[in-house]
């Protein structure tokens, strides 16, 4: 008979308010095998853990259950405490009576919560009786990191890891690193020029010997697990030999074809052979193949003619390269909601209705107008500009339900930039609320209103239309209770920040979770903000949700610190939740081999003493097995089982239902 101890946590009042913990302990004490049961205010506290250890020793317990919060919260804590008291850590189980019981059943009579807690604990007891001691698996760690995305978050992460002395591979989809930050004119709340603070970091990436930079590349496939990822990277054909290109720019000069520039948010054109912007890193142009007549129809080829080092190769093809890394940092960033969604604001119909990011380009000294504010339709300097906040944000019907977080700040910045550049100009801001939480943020908005003449109107815009070369904006000012109509020269929409197109595909390749807006899920919103549920994969920046530059940089560094701490030892211990084959009953049907998502099951043989194969059977590779248990359910002869979730354990729990 096992000697089981039950510890029911009150979690202050979190559990005790709706669960009679004392009664749960008393009921459990009656079950066969239970030799100790008690309840306690805070099991996770240091006295709580000491009590657990003492009870194990005093009562010679060989198995323990802590009925408390979710195992995702404190399973590790209690297993560690049990181990310290001499138990195998896998002889400690958690019953979730907080997140899945006391917090969701608000019955103050405690009847429902207590009944459910008793049931759940009883099921855990029966399951625990079948637990076998398990040993953690040692796995080696490849001390090299992969950073996906070369925006400011990814750049920061890569630089920090490199500075920590480890190798980094930085993969960027576009021809240059820099991301969205490279597009910005000035940055709030200090008004330092975005490129001035970003480009030195970009150059640092290029010069750092520890960093291998793959631009114009995408993640093709990710295999493996923490410490041992195998990543396939598609290096898209640039049609320019990176090694030999000197970045002289002759080819760009000579290229006779122009298309809309994505970097300039369609406000300007670029050549078909191009670098996104003059300070691109690496300073190597790429050919936009779908638009290149030479590649499509074998006409032109001017770039190859003028290229001094002869590094243009129209026959270049995509290459797939494979890299082994120990940790992955995902920093894929954000996009703006397509403005075409805002028909009522005239976008797409009225040329002078632009997005916030387009305004950034107009205000940027490296932008299409050289930093002069000119409206797109006729190039005139606008005498008045209306800024519309929350275009798509906080609007579940038309857009997204969340707040895009940075728009209040950048709109205040826009009004300032506009006032600095067009002294006589008048800016109007239609807003819902001003959200300026952050160091020196509120002061910044006050400055826009008090010193830079921005007129803030609290209310929504109902209609935007064109009349005699003006853009008429109709809206409400809810503070004065008046309807307002403004004759503006230009309208700027603070469009919602959304996740990258294809963010879900990337998540699926990596095996990480995402929410309904396709922003990636952190492991824990407060305590594990840069980790994912997949060990060894970390997040940083706006791929998790709208985020400003300081937060993105902080997260880049945080993710780098996580990767570096992983790299600080040569090997790590992994949970021993792996499949195991019962040799005598395996009949080698290979259903498990087909089912395994990780190719972790091999076809093994048994030989007689003459070396002749007498039978075949499946064999699990412990290093590769991730413990999903798909093979177990697939096995017809029940010859394969999953440690920690054996059939015996599950059926024991079901039988105690």
């Amino acid at each position: 008979m096992p000697r089981i101890g039950i510890f029911v946590c009150q979690c202050g009042n979190n559990i005790a308010a709706t669960v009679d913990t004392k009664k749960v302990a008393e009921e459990m004490a009656r079950l066969p095998g239970v030799v100790f049961a008690c309840d306690y205010k805070f099991m996770c506290s240091s006295p709580g853990q000491d009590m657990l250890k003492q009870a194990i020793k005093d009562n010679r317990l060989d198995k323990v259950i802590v009925s408390a919060c979710s195992p995702h919260m404190h399973e590790k804590t209690f297993r560690k405490a049990s181990e310290a008291a001499g138990l195998n850590p896998y002889q400690c189980e958690i019953t979730n009576i907080r997140e899945q019981c006391s917090w969701v059943h608000h019955d103050k009579t405690k009847a429902a919560g207590t009944a459910k807690s008793i049931d759940l604990t009883r099921m855990t007891i029966e399951r625990l009786k079948k637990n076998k001691p398990l040993k953690k698996i040692n796995i080696p760690i490849k001390k090299k990191a992969l950073v996906i995305g070369g925006g400011i978050a990814g750049i920061q992460a890569a630089l920090d890891i490199a500075e920590g002395g480890r190798e980094v591979i930085l993969v960027e989809r576009e021809p240059s690193i820099g991301g969205n930050m490279a597009r910005l004119s000035e940055t709030f709340p200090t008004m330092d020029c975005s490129q001035c603070i970003l480009t030195p970091k970009m150059v640092e990436v290029e010069l750092n010997e520890k960093i291998t930079l793959y631009t114009y590349s995408e993640i093709e496939k990710v295999d493996g697990y923490i410490g041992n990822f195998i990543v396939q990277i598609r290096r898209k054909a640039k049609y320019v030999d990176e090694e030999r290109c000197t970045g002289c720019g002759e080819c760009i000069e000579k290229c006779p074809f122009k298309v809309e520039s994505q970097f300039e948010m369609k406000l300007a054109k670029r050549k078909v052979i191009y670098t996104p912007f003059p300070q691109s890193v690496p300073n190597v142009p790429v050919i936009d193949a779908p638009n290149c007549p030479k590649i499509q129809k074998d006409k032109c080829g001017a770039c190859a003619v003028v290229c001094g080092p002869k590094c243009i190769d129209f026959k270049m093809e995509d290459r797939i390269i494979t890299e082994d890394v120990g940790a992955i940092i995902v920093a894929t960033g954000y996009e703006l909601m397509p403005n075409e969604r805002f028909g009522e604001y005239g976008y797409g119909r009225i040329k002078d209705v632009i997005s916030g990011m387009q305004f950034e380009r107009l205000a940027s000294s490296s932008g299409p107008t050289g930093g002069e504010i000119r409206r797109p339709s006729d190039g005139k300097t606008p005498a008045s500009v209306v800024f519309i906040q929350c275009a798509g944000s906080r609007d579940e019907k038309k857009g997204v339900s969340y707040c895009s977080k940075v728009c209040c700040m950048y709109t205040a910045k826009h009004t300032m930039l506009y006032h600095h550049k067009v002294h006589e100009g008048q800016s109007y801001v239609f807003y819902m609320d001003i959200r300026a939480g952050g160091k020196r943020y509120e002061e910044f908005v006050r400055r826009a209103i008090e010193h830079d003449n921005a007129m803030y109107l609290r209310g929504r815009v109902s209609r935007v239309y064109e009349k005699d070369g003006k853009v008429i904006v109709q809206g409400a000012d809810t503070l004065s209770g008046n309807q307002v109509e403004i004759e503006a020269d230009m309208v700027v929409l603070a469009t919602a920040i959304v996740s990258r197109t294809g963010a879900d595909t990337v998540a699926q390749k990596l095996g990480i979770g995402y929410d309904k807006y396709k922003f990636y899920n952190e492991y824990h919103p407060k305590l594990k903000p840069v980790e994912t549920v997949t060990a060894g994969i970390f997040l940083s920046g706006a791929c998790m949700g709208p985020m400003d530059i300081p937060d993105s940089v902080a997260q880049g560094s945080a993710a780098a610190a996580k990767a570096l701490s992983l790299f600080s030892s040569d090997e790590m211990m992994r949970e021993p939740i792996t499949a195991v084959v019962n040799k005598p009953t395996c009949n080698a049907c290979w259903d498990c081999v087909t089912a395994c998502p990780y190719s972790a099951i091999e076809r093994d043989t048994v030989k007689n003493r003459d070396g002749v194969v007498v039978r075949w059977l499946a064999k699990v590779n412990d290093g590769v097995c991730q413990g999903c248990g798909v093979c177990v359910a697939a096995c017809r002869s029940k010859a394969i089982d999953l440690k920690g979730y054996t059939d015996e354990q599950v059926y024991a729990a079901i039988n105690a239902f």
Binding site: R98, H106, G511
Partner: protein
């Protein structure tokens, strides 16, 4: 009844179904945890068994649950394409389709058996699902057909 609906039926002393839920560790279990962290409220009739992946679920688990007095069974995991183990939930889905037909053939009311996708961020979906399933099974009454089989 919505996520924030007030639960009153529990105290009325009527038939309270027992529902077994087999959920995966990464999506639905975390989604159910989130419902708790967000202090939502749902019917207390469900008992969750956590498994690493829905792909681990043997159809026999479901039959055993019925034998042991479950009035309904719920299986829930990551959305298609979002499986933590890449393809585990596809196995579960395929197995489910075959199993469902078999159960239907044996005459089990399919309102007693539910398969759902609930992600780690879909606490509200979890709450609505539990409430809906509980209410439906409450109307169907106790499930007796399999209970006699236990131990035979």
């Amino acid at each position: 009844m919505t996520a924030h609906g007030k639960q009153t039926e529990y105290q009325t002393g009527g038939f309270e179904p027992k529902i077994m839920a087999y959920v995966c560790n990464w999506c639905t279990y975390a989604g159910a945890d989130l419902a708790g962290t967000s202090r939502m409220e749902y019917r207390p009739n469900v008992r969750i068994i956590k498994l690493p992946c829905t792909g681990r679920i043997d159809p026999l688990f479901i039959i055993k649950a019925f034998e042991n007095g479950a009035d309904g069974v719920l299986v829930s995991g990551c959305h298609p394409g979002d499986c933590h183990y890449t393809t585990g939930n596809y196995h579960a889905r395929r197995r489910w389709i075959g199993f469902k037909n078999l159960m239907e053939f044996t005459g089990i009311d399919m309102r007693r058996l539910h398969f759902s996708w609930v992600s780690a961020s879909e606490a509200i979906k979890w709450v609505d699902l539990i409430n809906k399933v509980t209410d439906e099974i409450k109307q169907l009454g106790p499930f007796m057909e399999y209970k006699g089989l236990k131990g035979k």
